[in-house]
């Protein structure tokens, strides 16, 4: 059924169709309308789930952990400071191997206060042991939640998943979304089959103390193996979803006009759709550029990026966050996995922080800069801040 939905309504529909039994959440802009929509579904009797109102995001994740441990699907949503407050429990959820699915609406971290989109909140949680998936449109938000349950719940994966969308650009913007049939989603997902659960007839304690000589390292190693397995399961599930629901998702990286491109822009989230539009305009002017939109940041698509680098003379990596050290997150990790695999120059561009608009005009200038780096064969500046007040180069 076609509906006009915002990104947040799409997330709520994705959750509704996946039939979680417990939702524990705390409101925070710009995520709030996800849990409000779900609350309405439950109040109207359209969703059979227990809605737990909690006093903080820390408690929201704690409640999801406990509920998931009893053997049911759970769902929650948050943004920015809420995600940061969850930090301790995020690591608990992944270490406890609970396939919780959560919507995260990217929002800048204060100070200064800002509710607009910026990827620092999720980048700061990249080592929390969660699968992280960045989406580009409302359809992808809805579909990704359904797919994420299926991937996360595989017994060789058992990793919680963040389905990430940009604040306002997706969260509060409505567009046409194809809402799949409930029966079809039920058949695709199946009943939740927990690998382990709390059972009064077989008492057990979860996450108990392990001494240094005990298997702590081995449990972490098993998580690392699970992230490797997740790569294969992501490929399989995306393929199955594409076939069942007539979609066209690439598992790890969505490429656009990358064949024979002189330079390729690597991006996350909605920057991808703006960049694709700019690529078409650039081609009209005879400039051969392409876009690679990274969907999964965890597991990191190392092999896919190496293949991408073979297609072109230069990679320009755009980050909507900054890391005080290597420069920027997607850039630093991209460069790291390319080490000794390619000699092509890789340059980082930091832009759009605090929700500053990333316009086609600015991306066109970045593409031009990338083409000149490709031509010279060397990077003039490893990481460049684009669009600072007064910087005439990008205005």
């Amino acid at each position: 059924m076609k509906m006009i939905l915002t990104g947040n309504e799409s997330a709520a529909w994705g959750a509704r169709l996946s039939r979680p039994k417990v939702i524990a959440a705390y409101p925070i802009t710009p995520q709030t309308s996800i849990i409000e929509t779900i609350a309405a579904f439950i109040a109207n009797g359209e969703m059979d789930a227990r809605y737990i109102r909690v006093e903080s995001e820390h408690s929201a994740m704690a409640a999801c952990i406990a509920a998931q441990n009893t053997g049911v699907r759970t769902f929650t949503a948050t943004s920015a400071h809420g995600l940061a407050l969850m930090h301790e429990l995020l690591i608990w959820a992944s270490g406890a191997r609970l396939p919780i699915v959560m919507s995260v609406v990217n929002r800048a971290m204060a100070p200064p206060w800002s509710v607009w989109t910026d990827q620092l909140d999720t980048m700061a949680e990249r080592d929390s042991g969660w699968i992280q998936l960045y989406t580009q449109n409302n359809q992808e938000v809805l579909d990704s939640i359904i797919m994420s349950y299926k991937i996360a719940e595989k017994h060789n994966v058992l990793l919680p998943t963040m389905v990430i969308e940009d604040a306002f650009i997706l969260s509060h913007t409505a567009e046409g979304v194809d809402v799949p049939d409930q029966k079809k989603v039920d058949d695709f997902l199946g009943e939740y089959d927990p690998a382990f659960k709390l059972d009064p007839d077989d008492p057990a304690g979860f996450g108990s103390l392990i001494m240094p000589e005990g298997p702590y390292m081995e449990f972490r190693y098993k998580m690392a193996l699970a992230f490797e397995d997740a790569r294969n399961e992501i490929k399989k599930v995306v393929e199955e979803y594409n076939e069942t629901f007539e979609r066209n998702y690439s598992p790890f990286i969505e490429e656009y006009r990358t064949e024979d491109a002189d330079a390729i822009m690597v991006v996350l989230g909605t920057i991808g759709s703006t960049a694709k539009d700019v690529v078409d305009r650039m081609h009209e002017k005879g400039k051969k550029v392409g876009v690679a939109r990274v969907r999964y940041f965890r597991p990191f698509p190392a092999e896919e990026l190496r293949m991408l680098a073979r297609k072109t003379d230069m990679l320009g990596v755009v980050d909507r966050s900054y890391s005080f050290g290597p420069g920027a997150d997607l850039y630093a990790e991209t460069r790291s996995v390319l080490y000794k695999h390619t000699d092509i120059p890789v340059k980082g561009y930091v832009m759009g922080l605090g929700g500053r608009d990333i316009t086609p005009q600015i991306l066109e200038k970045v593409f031009d800069d990338m083409l000149s780096v490709a031509k010279e064969g060397v990077v003039d500046k490893e990481v460049e801040w684009v669009g600072l007040h007064g910087d005439e180069r990008w205005s």
Binding site: G95, R97, H155, P203, S208, A226
Partner: protein, 107 residues
């Protein structure tokens, strides 16, 4: 030799918590003065563990004849961590917190 990995995906202890005696964490020991205890069971309600349990009426003395027919309470020192909530809640101040060293631990 192959790497040996735990069977479960996450640490799961199949040992019931009753096997894990935590009384050794205690600094202060709650001691019930039965001559004051009115057998209201407020301590039993508030104990965050399950360290307070019922004992038959005749197990301890009672301050009043009328109370002597009701069950009394005892403290399980294998699990009491000495949080002092029972002593704080007791309406007749019948529970005293005594420094563990001063009574000589008999765990």
């Amino acid at each position: 030799m192959p790497i040996i990995l735990p069977e479960d995906p996450t640490p799961i202890a199949k040992v019931p918590s009753t096997e894990n005696k935590t009384g050794g964490w205690r600094t202060f020991r709650p001691v019930i003065h039965y001559e004051k205890c009115i057998r209201c069971y407020i301590c039993w309600k508030f104990c965050p563990d399950a360290a307070i349990y019922f004992a038959p009426p005749e197990a301890h003395e009672s301050p009043k004849e009328a109370l002597a027919k009701f069950d009394t309470v005892e403290i399980n020192y294998d699990f009491c961590k000495g949080c002092g909530i029972c002593a704080n809640e007791c309406p007749v101040k019948a529970i005293e917190l005594v420094l563990e060293e001063s009574v000589g631990g008999d765990e």
